[in-house]
């Protein structure tokens, strides 16, 4: 393995950053899975739930509302991920790389 790779792999901050990032992305992914597979499960196992109108004055069913909700939810989670990655993960990654690159050259 390349020297710098070894340095990074041995660095606690790298592992802290990587753990934070992976907790965040797996957490968000779990949310998408729960939302989407709940939507599917209703269609698969209890389709009549989705044919009910939202209220007595409308034709809009819970199914249509749920579909719109899953789409909006997906877009919002995507935006949240990008927002946090831009603000936090990129900065930490740059600092980490700069520090270790310097250490690799001064050794």
């Amino acid at each position: 393995m390349h020297d710098l790779y070894r340095l990074i792999d041995a660095d606690p901050e790298f592992h802290a950053l990587q753990r934070a990032r992976s907790r965040f992305s797996w957490g968000l992914l779990a949310c998408v899975f729960v939302a989407f597979y709940s939507f599917l499960s209703v269609i698969a196992f209890a389709p009549t739930w989705f044919s009910r109108p939202l209220n007595a004055h409308t034709m809009v069913t819970t199914g249509i509302a749920a579909g719109v909700a899953v789409i909006l939810f997906s877009v919002v989670l995507t935006a949240w991920y990008v927002w946090r990655a831009n603000r936090e993960f990129d900065v930490r990654n740059q600092v980490l790389l700069a520090r270790l690159k310097q250490r690799a050259t001064t050794r």
Partner: protein
């Protein structure tokens, strides 16, 4: 999926279409279409002069911005299958068509959270680059290229047939000529302009489609006094099954089908080679991430419009409007034309021409992206990395251009052969292969240290055979196409089973692999992991 699709051709053979009862060609559509072709040809010439290296040819020199790439990805994803296909599914099956829209969007966060950044950090031009980084290049690239080509060709057939039908209805051009014109244009864009031209064609098309779709949805809304409720009332009143239109269970009748279809849509996006390839056109991982954000925004917005368009079509594309053949009661051009007829119902001939030209541009752009992706699977993955590792850049690009031509010929011939075939299941098969072959391969190579070459091969082959076998022996091909009495494989959507086969094959194959090579591959994971997380070493890979 649509039993009536075989009647599509019958409807088209009638010399008069509803909106061209005088037999006249829609002049606005022709003008817009020629304008689009003119602009894209100009872009291709401009791009050709800027394409000097293989890096320019396959990845537009990595100079595309996140916003541009997001628009281009949306362009790649919002194919005619989306706009025409989902509205058609809603027209026939009502609510169940929405599963396609919801699944199509939900696949994007998955691409972002799991793949986009790591893929950009590990790969160069194709997703096979990332997979073969620590595994044996020759067998793994051969597998990845096979998965890519299967998906690309199946997707191409669907688009070709759709485009041929559209041109036939609109310009009264023979189906055969129409398919040849599309094939010729796509080969030209790709072989001369490479990724730069393909990207800009994609961006223009995505903008046109977003604008056209928004305008159409707005006009439908205005027609119903800005009330979604009124659209639904109109749709229910006009649909033969009435209120059942809003109830699930017409397209997917059993739980396994519902879950399997959903999984196909959710994971398929992450395994489509022409989409994955787009992440190499930007400079770095943050730009790849921004691409997905913009793409998801555009795609989510467009799919919400389809809620309006689908139900709007049911409400407005009526029998007394002349959109159905009076003798057979089949929609003229097949239900795939529901959205096009809606444009006519709401905005007359002029708007019909506009929307048709937009759809045509859509198909042209998507087939170009697919062709480039197929060409890179052969030239970059197979030729340059398996058969002739000493090939020069010029040779590799030349092979790409030849491959683009060959793919064009294949697409045109298959487009002609499958003219009377239901196209929706082919696009679904492309997604099924993406979800059950390409996605597990890419995912495991990046996330599972113990994956070895043997495991990847075993899993890939098992996934591919199960997916293709399940489709051929399933109800769509075995019964509807080959006219057997009962399907051998009972489900329409094989993804759930193919995915299980693929993952279990990889798991078992890798865990049983005790060779020294396997140990070396496991040991190489640490360096690959550091690179995938930090982007270190990725810069060197993207500068040729």
């Amino acid at each position: 999926m649509r039993p009536r699709a075989s009647l599509l051709a019958a409807g088209l053979l009638l010399p008069t279409a509803a909106h061209a009862a005088d037999g006249a060609v829609n002049k606005l559509a022709v003008a817009m279409f020629l304008g689009f072709v003119g602009i894209t040809l100009a872009i291709t010439f401009w791009a050709a002069r800027r394409t000097r290296t293989t890096h320019d040819f396959y990845a537009a020199g990595g100079r595309i911005t996140g916003f541009q790439n997001g628009l281009a990805i949306a362009g790649d994803f919002m194919s005619a299958a989306t706009f025409l296909g989902i509205s058609a599914l809603m027209f026939e099956h009502g609510f169940d068509g929405l599963i396609y829209a919801v699944g199509g969007v939900a696949g994007w966060p998955l691409v972002l959270f799991l793949l986009a950044e790591r893929l950009k950090n590990l790969g160069k031009y194709t997703f096979a680059d990332a997979v073969s980084l620590r595994l044996q290049a020759k067998p793994i690239r051969s597998l990845a290229a096979t998965g890519s080509l299967c998906a690309v060709v199946l997707y191409l057939i669907g688009q070709m047939v759709g485009a041929g039908k559209l041109v036939e209805v609109l310009f009264h051009l023979d189906y055969d000529y129409a398919v040849c014109v599309i094939g010729g244009l796509m080969v030209f864009y790709v072989s001369f302009g490479g990724m730069i031209a393909t990207t800009w064609v994609q961006i223009i098309k995505a903008s046109l489609l977003l604008a056209g779709g928004s305008l159409l949805a707005f006009l439908v809304y205005r027609h119903f006094n800005y009330s979604f409720d009124a659209i639904l009332r109109g749709a229910v009143a006009n649909h033969p099954r009435g209120i059942e239109l809003l109830e699930p269970g017409h397209l997917v009748r059993d739980p396994v089908s519902a879950i399997s279809l959903g999984t196909t849509l959710l994971l398929g996006t992450a395994g489509l080679p022409h989409i994955l390839m787009r992440f190499f056109t930007v400079a770095d991982a943050p730009a790849a991430r921004r691409s997905v954000l913009f793409a998801t925004g555009f795609i989510g917005y467009f799919y919400l419009l389809i809620f309006v368009l689908g139900f709007g079509a049911v409400a407005l594309v009526t029998h007394d409007g002349g959109y159905f053949d009076p003798k057979t009661n089949v929609m003229i051009g097949g239900t795939n034309m529901a959205a096009i007829h809606l444009a006519h119902a709401i905005g007359g001939d002029a708007f019909l021409g506009f929307m048709s030209a937009v759809c045509f541009a859509t198909i042209l752009a998507v087939v170009s992206g697919l062709t480039l992706s197929g060409a890179s699977a052969i030239s970059h993955d197979l030729y340059a990395n398996v058969f002739n590792p000493h090939a020069t850049e010029q040779e590799v690009v030349r092979i790409s251009k030849i491959t683009a031509l060959v793919l064009g010929v294949i697409a045109v011939s298959l487009g002609l052969v499958f003219e009377h075939q239901n196209v929706a299941y082919m696009v679904q098969l492309a997604f099924a292969i993406g979800a059950s072959v390409n996605f597990p391969l890419l995912f495991l190579s990046m996330y599972w240290r113990d994956l070895t070459t043997w495991g990847a091969l075993l899993g890939g082959i098992m996934g591919l055979t199960t997916a293709v076998g399940g489709i051929i022996l399933g109800p769509t091909v075995w019964v509807e196409v080959l006219h057997h009495a009962a399907p051998i494989f009972p489900y329409k959507y094989p993804t759930l089973f193919a995915l299980a086969a693929s993952f279990s094959g990889s798991l078992v194959g890798s865990l049983l692999d005790r060779s020294p090579q396997a140990s070396a591959e496991r040991a190489a994971f640490a360096a690959q992991f550091v690179r995938s997380q930090t982007g270190l070493g990725a810069e060197a890979a993207s500068v040729h």
